[in-house]
Symmetry: C2
Subunit: 294 residues, 2 copies
């Protein structure tokens, strides 16, 4: 068995290391494909992949993981198609799903059934294969958003790859996926980037930052993420993210009204609800949360 | 020498432990005063204070630290005044300063010179004397916001107490203090509380929180803070905080316009500026930041 990994960065590299650690695939060979020759060399030097190859090697692979930045996925899909055997299953690790599916339909046409979209909910601030970690996916969610054309068998193959990496695989609609991650990931990233940029551009920024403390450090940790990656995620999930921004602005307006009215009760209740919800979540106790279908 | 500490919680208890550790005061006695008898008993059992006392003991103290929630400071000031010797210096640890100074002027009247306002920039999520830590202030800023009536000697005494705790003492105008902390602390807290509350109240909250990951965890850590304390801080620094909210909303509108226009360049530039600023700050390199007087 041969598994091709296109894009040997943090995610592709960790996928390779986790697969090998899990040994779910016996003596499967891991083929690295990357436009960045330096990354391939590093990956081979680190023992992350067995061999590096060009896109032509796609024809020898039984499964393909596309772990490139979301914006590059359409080009990669077009590039692999001429080499793709009909029994090879292709999956991806993109942070947004509806746009990737649109791109895959365009690129693959009648062969779209071979593409099973996925998204591992794991990451690091540091990028690149040097940061790859066999345990990156342990106990973490991987969301698959199968399309109607996928066979149960294809979905199962992708699922078992991720389970071999130690991940917990769940399935949902691509639209649900994008809405959920707009709320719990993309919006917070945008809010953190927005705050740091706004404060850093003020005439007294030096004073402000010299008094910023640990609360600010943690609140803004995600503003240390890759601008290229997050530009793409925010553009690719634009509509869901704009809805989230609207909702959040309405919530801020509510808070402003409470402040203007000096309504300590409303402020304290909101804060107490937030703290309680976060405490429950941190304790892994989600039973008290509203649970209507998304 | 006797030092009275009114309010033996995390801050008051840590102040006592740090003073004793520092031994800057030789054999000074630390007197705990707290309406909560349980807290006093715990503080004595933990060896945090030498003795506990009622407000009448204020007359025996050379210095007083008021480390109660900001909202309780006016009542404490009124309660200590009848027992206060004219040579005793009084300071506080409140997170907002202009409002505390107004309250102190009201309570102390002609004796206002004895009150030197202060704010240690240190904290924990856990409250109470059991969480007190002799190292809580090590290398942390303590901001003093002296008023015109304070003598240089009074300010120096408060400064040396905090330096004895391992803190770095700086002075600024109360107005500057409140503006700075509205931006780098109070606004982020409000933003985090707002996000968690909003998401937790949705019909699909259970799904949302089950996919929230480490970025969300860190972004919202400060939403685990005390609702009572943050209700008071946000109310007491209301005007500065409302200005910060307006500025932040304008920044979000800018981001929304960039998203609507699919302006990837503008998004990436903003994110890159934010990441760069945060990297510089984390590295302790503030020389590149704008530095106009606040």
């Amino acid at each position: 068995m041969k598994i091709g990994i296109i894009g040997i960065g943090l995610i592709g590299g960790s996928f390779a290391l986790a697969l090998r650690r899990g040994r779910a695939l016996g003596d499967a060979r891991l083929i690295g494909i990357d436009r960045d020759v330096g990354a391939l060399d590093a990956a081979q030097a680190l023992g992350v992949i067995d061999e590096c190859a060009s896109f032509a090697a796609v024809s020898t692979c039984d499964a393909l993981m596309i772990a490139v930045p979301v914006r590059q996925i359409p080009a990669v899909l077009a590039e692999i198609l001429p080499h793709l055997r009909s029994e090879t299953v292709v999956t991806d690790a993109g942070s947004t799903k509806q746009d990737v599916i649109v791109a895959a339909r365009l690129a693959f046409g009648g062969r779209i059934a071979q593409f099973v979209p996925g998204h591992p909910i794991a990451g690091r601030e540091r990028a690149g294969v040097a940061a790859a970690d066999a345990g990156l996916f342990d106990g973490k969610h991987v969301v698959l958003t199968p399309i109607p054309e996928n066979t149960a068998q294809s979905v199962e193959r992708v699922r078992s790859l991720w389970q071999g990496c130690g991940a917990r695989v769940v399935e949902m609609l691509a639209e649900t996926h994008d809405a959920v991650f707009a709320a719990v990931s993309h919006l917070p990233h945008l809010l953190a980037f927005a705050l740091v940029d706004e404060l850093a551009s003020r005439p007294n920024a030096k004073t402000l930052f010299s008094f910023a403390a640990s609360g600010f450090r943690d609140f803004t940790r995600i503003a240390g993420s890759s601008p290229e990656m997050w530009r793409d995620i925010t553009l690719n999930n634009r509509d869901a993210l704009l809805r989230e921004l609207d909702t959040y602005e309405a919530q801020l307006s509510k808070l402003k009204r409470a402040l203007l009215a000096r309504d300590g009760d409303a402020l304290e209740k909101l804060m107490a609800r937030a703290r309680h919800a976060r405490d429950q979540w941190m304790a892994g106790e989600l039973d008290g949360f509203p649970d209507e279908a998304t």
